[in-house]
Amino acid sequence: MPPGSPATERPGVSAPVDARGLIAAAVAAGVPAGLLYAAANHLLAIPPLLQAEAFEGAAGGWSPARALWGLAGSVGLATAFSLLLTPVVRALGPPTAWRGLLVGVAAFASLLLLPALATRPGPPGMEADATLVVRQGTWLLAVLASLSAVGLGAAVHRLAGRRPGARMLAWAAGLGLWAVFAWIFVRTGGAAGGPVPAAVTTRFREAALLSNGMLLLGLALLIPVTLKRLAR
């Protein structure tokens, strides 16, 4: 086994990392995860989205070109997430399935769930309760809030060391702060109206939650595998 191999690495003692290897691993995980995401969206989220557009009176509907752009967007988004998450998984130590899942859960909470609670996204046709810039700023604020909760959990885990219950304390601290932020965002968010029936909006939101969960699960499982094969 060559010196500095991730397979022999001890936590806290890192082998040198190569940016090209990280990027290769991220793309190798992001593309298949994006294809899975595109398929999930096509089956789950796009039908209620098209229904909502019909209520909105917008021209369009499904077309092969639209499906192709949806595929490109899904792969692009999955690769973007993968480029963000792969260095984090690698920084935690030798890439394992558990570390991948941990980062995947944190990413789902930070990039998708808390921002959704804050901005209440939905299909086209929903009337927005604030300007686009304000809603984008709220999205970013929610991401930063969630990352700070994750950071608190990580800091508590590090400070608690090997004391009994350290892991549980870290989870409690992180989840507790995250729940406080979620409560604040839900309480301060406005309600959006529009011509789209509530049933269609609910169906879209449930479908999007499921497909987004599949995306992050796919990345969580693939990133440790591609890191082992492609990155030092």
Binding site: A72, F81, Q136
Partner: protein, 60 residues
């Protein structure tokens, strides 16, 4: 003594090289996320419209 890579004049310290190695994919990811999720140009918005709604990005 022969100069090693890390002691060569002008060489980037190892710690900085490592930080750059981690930061490079992160910056690429942020740029790609910005394009897919937030770029305001109509052509880009129309291209990634469905994914923006599905992923919960504020769209329009």
């Amino acid at each position: 003594m022969h100069p090693t890579e890390s002691t060569r004049p002008g060489a980037i310290p190892a710690a900085a090289r490592q930080a750059l190695a981690y930061l490079t994919p992160v910056l690429m990811g942020l740029a790609l996320l910005g394009i897919v999720g937030f770029a305001p140009y109509p052509a880009v918005h129309d291209t990634f419209h469905d994914v923006r709604h599905a992923a919960g990005f504020p769209c329009h």
